[in-house]
């Protein structure tokens, strides 16, 4: 029973010193450590995913180009999508949840700390498994990583090389990671709130992540099931996605999009929550429409799981199905508009100041607004026959997911960087980062809207010469956008090295919330004694 007494003794001691070296990060059960790991992992793979994007744009800068072979091009577009969604954005939002939610609700840590650690450490193996076929290819086995596009559509994915198998296993690992993180966040919010933090006093970021976690639990198992079916179709003779056995390739599309559409909201909601805090801080006004925003999250969450087939209008569907998915999709614009009105209401007549987090937050409202409006045109089942599979769709997608979640993550990164590191970043570099992002991003994607309306097809390694101007502009924009991200890295390093001005506990004049009552950086363990919130 020696181990028992050891555990009990350790429990009775008070530890505020951190474990040292690599073991600290590998074995940690501390929510702040795990949050930082998630965020660093996310930033790293944001750069990796960005590199794939730059390769794509380098290939497309003029017609009949030979930067990439068609095979490599297909791998680059697939990995760009998978990496950005699963290895960059999701880890970063999970990182903020880990670091900030316990501080926001006055909890001593996440509810299940070891599970929390496991949730993070499932990610690096997933990344290794995803790119492992690239290593195998060097030894003459197989033809490299997955090349089917990130949607992995059957029957192409049933026929394609071994990269698909490894991608399926990577998705299983990512799914396990997301499910563990979601369970932990739900339990933490339900069980770890300080006395007085009732559900309707819960900070909006915590609310938004709660709905996100519900969504992940509701849809990620469906993708895992789909992955298993794809694996058995490939290797064990089943016919889920083959008409010869009575199956249907479109079944894969249903499974993928039943996961894939809510996934958009899984990426969006956490940053929508953060946005409300940031706008309120820099408008020096309380959040406008707290209750309305909570109800909007719920409405978005519920609607998002019943609209998936709007991604499949051109796959063949009865008219009744098209009408249903069209109207239900358009209905989502109502709760999203509620969020927009609340954001604008928050900054309305506020004493605004425009530090970098606020710039990114305002950029979010503008760019994501364009993403939402162009989404309405795509949701129109008739018009979608023209837009589908064109660059218009690519541009819409990026206005939604870069304009929303990534701008939101940038805003949150600058908002919390001084809190986490205890030091300010370079405001000048931050502003440059913002403006280069805005210029680069719009230069990349406005031409894609125009090219798409003119009929340019996406996902193809080459294009007709009439689109050369659009693609040239788009590639130049992408290079600017890519280079701008080095300023983010610079600012993280600046704040981390700690030679700049120390941050106060409040950090920002208008910042509200329990996390801003703690010193910057907060001590390793916080709220071991429960705070009372009146």
């Amino acid at each position: 029973m020696s181990s028992v007494s050891a555990y009990v003794n350790e429990h009775e001691h008070e530890h505020d010193h951190k474990p040292r070296g690599l073991a600290r990060w590998l074995f940690t059960t501390n929510h702040k450590d795990i949050g930082i790991l998630y965020m660093l992992f996310g930033v790293t793979f944001f750069l990796v995913g960005g590199l794939f994007a730059e390769l794509i744009r380098a290939q497309l800068i003029h017609p009949a180009n030979h930067v990439l072979t068609p095979e490599l091009y297909n791998q680059a577009i697939t990995l760009h999508g998978l990496v950005m969604v699963f290895a960059a954005l999701m880890p970063v939002t999970a990182g903020f949840a880990n670091y900030v939610i316990p501080l926001m609700i006055g909890a001593p840590d996440m509810a299940l700390p070891r599970l929390n650690n496991w949730g993070f450490w499932l990610l690096p193996p997933a990344a290794v498994v995803l790119v492992f076929p690239g290593i195998l290819q060097l030894f003459g086995v197989g033809n490299g990583p997955i090349d089917t596009g990130w949607t992995i559509y059957a029957p192409l994915s049933v026929r394609s090389g071994l990269g698909v198998d490894f991608a399926i296993f990577a998705i299983v690992l990512l799914g396990a990671s997301s499910l563990m993180a979601s369970i932990n966040i739900i339990v933490t919010i339900f069980n770890m709130r300080a006395p007085g933090v009732t559900m309707m006093k819960l900070p909006l970021f915590a609310w938004s992540w709660l709905i996100t976690a519900f969504l992940l639990i509701a849809v990620f198992p469906a993708l895992i099931a789909g992955g298993l079916m794809l694996l058995t179709d490939r290797h064990f003779g089943t016919h889920f996605f083959s008409a010869a056995g009575g199956g249907d390739p479109v079944l894969w599309e249903h499974l993928f999009w039943f996961f894939g559409h809510p996934e958009v909201y899984i990426l969006l909601l956490p940053t929508a929550g953060l946005l409300s805090h940031i706008l309120s801080a820099f408008a020096r006004k309380p959040i406008f429409g707290y209750r309305a925003q909570v109800y909007a999250y719920w409405t978005i969450g519920v609607l998002s799981v019943i609209v998936w087939a709007h991604h499949m209008f051109t796959s063949g569907m009865p008219i009744a199905g098209q009408l249903y998915f069209m109207y239900s999709t358009m209905a989502i614009s109502i709760p999203v508009t509620v969020l927009f009105i609340c954001w604008l209401g928050t900054i309305w007549r506020g004493a605004l100041s425009f530090e970098t987090p606020m710039l990114f937050a305002l950029g979010y409202i503008g760019l994501f607004g364009i993403g939402g409006l162009t989404g309405l045109t795509l949701a129109d089942a008739v018009a979608d026959q023209q837009y589908h599979n064109s660059y218009y769709l690519v541009a819409h997608f990026h206005y939604t997911l870069f304009g929303g979640p990534i701008m939101g993550v940038m805003a949150a990164a600058y908002f919390y960087l001084p809190k986490i590191t205890g030091h300010m970043y370079s405001e000048r570099a931050g502003r440059w980062h913002f403006w280069l992002c805005i210029i680069g991003f719009n230069l990349t994607f406005i031409p894609q809207f125009l090219a798409g309306i003119a009929g340019a097809e996406r996902r193809v390694v080459d294009y007709p010469i009439q689109f050369a101007g659009f693609h040239m502009a788009s590639s130049i924009g992408a290079f600017i956008l890519g280079a701008a991200q080095l300023l983010l890295v610079y600012n993280i390093v600046v704040a981390w090295r700690g030679r700049t001005e120390p941050a106060s506990a409040r950090v920002w004049e208008g910042a509200q919330g329990l996390e801003f009552t703690l010193p910057s950086p907060p001590p390793y363990h916080t709220f071991a004694e429960r705070p009372a919130v009146v």
């Binding site: 009990v8 429990h11 496991w118 450490w121 004694e529 919130v533």
Partner: protein, 291 residues
């Protein structure tokens, strides 16, 4: 949030949440899964080293999981878990089971899609354009290019299995009632009967699978019927097997006297899981074997 914050100084000991020390096992479990999945990826593509890697991954996984849980049990024995921690575990288990329900629901949705949408559509194609003009659809089917097979009727082994699993649901509840009133003999007897019923279920399922493969011609390759049948029943059988491992662990701990009416989370979690597996079987019995 413009809440006024004050730190309370009169916090009692029981309000302190137990925070575990750093642990090497989560990252070890992940490393084991990395080896296992790389091995699996190689194995299904016929690369020789795959099987060895899979075996190594499984062993490492077993080692890490056993040590992880041993640590948790030691903490529980050490008395660090109180009502607050216990509530986290309970919520965690409930949400884990919800995610499992979604996994099974997906396969049931696939079954629905095949029966109501993909097979009827395929059969109703205009014969002039259909690659298989003679396909008439219906259920069960191996599809237009499939082979003949026979199905397993509901009234033989499946009915026996239904009775076995429902009874085991009752016995595990009876064991749980015993624990709540600190009647250890009832707990142990209930667990033993539950494990026996579950084990017979798994053996009968294995026999039935063998029968299907060797005599009925019903295999994973028997079109959508065979694929969905084996995916659903196979996944369920796997869950029953995992449930049996959990029950056996709980039985071992009960024999050592680990549980009491106050400390019974592990028994409850396992019994929830067992009921979940039970309900999935009922759905299988109705939707896969009977209708």
């Amino acid at each position: 949030m413009s809440a006024d914050i004050t730190m309370t100084s009169n916090v009692t000991g029981s309000q302190r949440y137990y925070l575990p020390q750093p642990s090497p096992y989560p990252v070890l479990v992940s490393a084991a899964l990395l080896v296992l999945f790389i091995g699996s990826g190689l194995r299904v593509n016929g690369v020789g080293a795959g099987s060895w890697l899979m075996a190594a991954g499984l062993l490492l996984l077993l080692y890490a999981v056993v040590h992880w849980f041993s640590g948790v049990i030691a903490e529980s024995r050490g008395g660090v878990y109180h009502r607050w921690e216990s509530r986290s575990f309970r919520l965690g288990m409930i949400w884990f089971i919800i995610s499992e329900i979604v996994l099974f629901a997906t396969f049931f949705a696939v079954l629905f899609y095949e029966r109501r949408i993909s097979v009827p559509w395929l059969a109703s194609l205009d014969p002039r354009f259909s690659p298989w003009p003679g396909f008439v659809g219906g259920w069960p089917t191996a599809g237009p290019a499939g082979h003949r097979f026979a199905t397993i009727g509901p009234l033989g082994i499946p009915l026996v299995n239904t009775i076995l699993l429902l009874s085991s649901g009752a016995t595990v509840t009876w064991a749980h009632w015993g624990l709540k009133e600190n009647r250890r003999q009832q707990l142990i007897a209930g667990l033993i009967v539950t494990i026996l019923l579950g084990a017979v279920f798994v053996l009968l399922q294995a026999y039935e699978f063998h029968h299907a493969y060797t005599e009925l011609g019903l295999t994973l390759g028997s079109g959508v019927y065979g694929a969905t049948f084996f995916m659903l029943t196979g996944l369920h059988g796997l869950h029953v097997t995992v449930g049996l491992v959990m029950l056996t662990t709980i039985l071992g701990r009960s024999l050592k006297g680990h549980f009491s009416a106050e400390h019974r989370f592990a028994v409850e979690a396992v019994s929830w899981y067992w009921h979940f597996v039970d309900v999935v079987w009922l759905c299988l019995f109705v939707l896969v074997y009977s209708v």
